[in-house]
Amino acid sequence: MEWTRYIDPLLQGCWVTIELTVYSTILGTLLAFGAGMGKLSHNPLIKALSVTYIEVFRGTSLLVQLFWLYFALPLLGELIGLDLRFHPVTVGVLALGLNIGAYGAEVVRGAVQSVPRTQYEAAKALNFTRTQTLWRIALPQALPEMMPPFGNLAVQNLKDTALVSLISLGDLAFRAEQLRNLTQDSTTIYTMVLFMYFGMALVLAALMGLLERHVGRWRHRRR
């Protein structure tokens, strides 16, 4: 068994997987805050946009979103005279980010809504606007509450990156498939891949744990 020969190509795949995870998690986080807060907005347009985005992306599968962005969008672009062909990495990040952002938005909304009413009243008594109250008072307090579900979403996102191998992106799952076709050594390769995903998930979970401690540090201080 020459499992050491697989290490290099698989690590290359890991790197792509990590890139996809990091970029799409960042995009997803931005979208989650935007749409989650947007859903709480009193501006009907912002609210409608946020709700629509959340429902569409939670209501369809990631695979369909991925194929739609990769295969359907360019054709649609042709029709209206725009070049909407993107690099597979871009499409992968976009699909993963949009998908995770929609789920994250519900986490943000729920956590912000769980901030006690008395905090909103204190903010009103100090004459903060509603938007200021949401972003400056409610959201930061809600952050620690969001972290555990965000951690789960990030790990989910890492696992979902395997789907992008279907649009021929050289991520870990794609490399594994390539090697397997080449060598037929399924057991070794997939065992290695299993451990690699697991290792990455452990690291990601640990990072999220650190972040959780950081955003919640005002909670743990005691007299």
């Binding site: 204190a122 009103k124 008594a125 004459n127 606007t129 005002w218 909670r219 005691r222």
Partner: protein, 259 residues
Amino acid sequence: MNEPIIRCEGVVKRFGELTVLDHLDFTVDPGEKVTIIGPSGSGKSTVLRVLMTLERINEGVVYVDGEPLWHEQGAKGLEPASEAHLRKMRQKMGMVFQHFNLFPHMTVLRNLTEAPRYVLGLSPREARQRAEELLELVGLSDKAEAFPSQLSGGQQQRVAIARALAMRPKIMLFDEPTSALDPELVGEVLRVIRSLAEEHELTMLLVTHEMDFARRISDRVCFFDQGRILEQGPPEEIFSSPKEQRTREFLHAVLHPEE
């Protein structure tokens, strides 16, 4: 004489079937220190919350500083107030809550500078300077970098008072500011409130069960019962020779709880 700074005319506030303020008439002069006493559920908090625009009214008109609070002068008389009008009116008032309601994720200093900076538009330096002066006033200069969870209840309430003052309100509303405190912490908060009561300009409305304190600092005591003022007058009068049976009963129950 001066125009009253607060004037409630026939104010009605209902929660569903329950009428909490029942055609309340109530005026406060500029600079006056008014204490509101009365049984639980008589509408004391609701009056303050209406003034702070935390609670809408169902009927009547409230004037603050010469302008209707919950209304605006429209083409056809008074119309419901816009958010812009409410924000302008809110600027005149500050409120101290029973449970402090500090922002737990901010240091003491930021609790004091956040609204002056982002609501009043003060520069960071100005806001900080104002906050430091106020922390000195409430005796907590050494706690600027602490988080609320690191403070005792008495300290938190003093920060809350400073936070409200940082907005330079004309009117300060205190809703049972010492009721949530351990007995040994009540004094430090009352001392701060008393020092404010010595300010001639500041109008103060205080809901409290601290009768001795009310007697010492107020110009007037109002006894609330069932959403109205049943009796009011100078503290000596209300505490020594109340006219109404209900007032006598209430004071007796508060002053001699064991009987």
